[in-house]
Symmetry: C2
Subunit: 165 residues, 2 copies
């Protein structure tokens, strides 16, 4: 086994397109609302909740779990819905993703670093590392609430995957 | 006309119950997820999107619009869906609400101040002041995207309503 070192890229909407949505103001033409006082950057994520699910709002409180080089022991995916993350206090996080597949392959992994003012919405079935925050922080999470099994995990061989910047 | 001065209270889940949900970690027993590294404060808001709507995610960028005493010229409501706000950078905002009604009455208004780590979800039909931020800030907004008329506004007689702390 040759360990893979994946280089983390700055997160952009274009690069992340195969995996879901970047939730950010940059590049979006806002609407003026509230008598011109407020900018609305509208409809930034395609949320999904299948099989008697509904979209809900939760908060995740995460420790600082990232320093480079960062080992990635496993990824997970949600076959029944999308999952969006946005930091509550301008915190950067590390994203590791793989397009929907029965089994994720090391060669298909991509890694991105958010700029602190970005969130992401993982499309349904996209493999992703669990929340990897650069600082202890809370995140608002918008995902499917409902019955059924909506979590799959895949563990890589030990030491197989590392992300570096 | 005797102008009404409404005293703003600290926001709590119990006090806000008639108007929707407070989105916060406080008072919620979290689940441990991601192999025990992360706390999930689960399912904090009842989202609604009627009449061919769906729940979407947007960002609002608001100026600082609050200093006390704060005049409230008007309130609005969304008859077809809920609307949730959460600050992106630990910002407090002022909330002015009235239970669902054909016409809001000054005597039915309540005002709350968030602590910076709180969001709210206005239940469908709840009258509320447009976003009143204590500092220039962006907010993540989770509300109905869809066809039809989902905005009603009610303007109070000039000078009728003021909020103070």
């Amino acid at each position: 086994m040759i360990p893979a070192v994946i280089k983390a890229e700055p997160l952009t909407g274009a690069a992340f397109r195969p995996f879901g949505d970047v939730i950010q103001e940059e590049g979006i033409a806002p609407k003026l609302i509230n008598r011109g006082t407020t900018l609305r950057f509208n409809d930034l994520a395609q949320l999904e909740a299948l099989d008697d699910g509904r979209i809900g709002v939760s908060l995740f409180r995460a420790p600082a779990t990232v320093s480079f080089p960062c080992p990635i022991p496993l990824v997970e995916c949600h076959p029944l819905g999308s999952q969006a993350f946005f930091p509550c206090e301008a915190t950067s996080f590390l994203i590791v993703v793989h397009h929907p597949a029965h089994i994720p392959e090391v060669a298909g992994l991509r890694a991105f670093i958010t700029n602190g003012r970005q969130g992401v919405n993982y499309a349904r079935g996209v493999w992703h590392a669990p929340l990897l925050s650069f600082a202890p922080a809370s995140y608002i999470v918008i995902d499917r609430i409902g019955p059924g099994s909506n979590l799959r995990e895949y563990t890589f061989p030990q030491g197989a995957v590392t992300v570096d910047c």
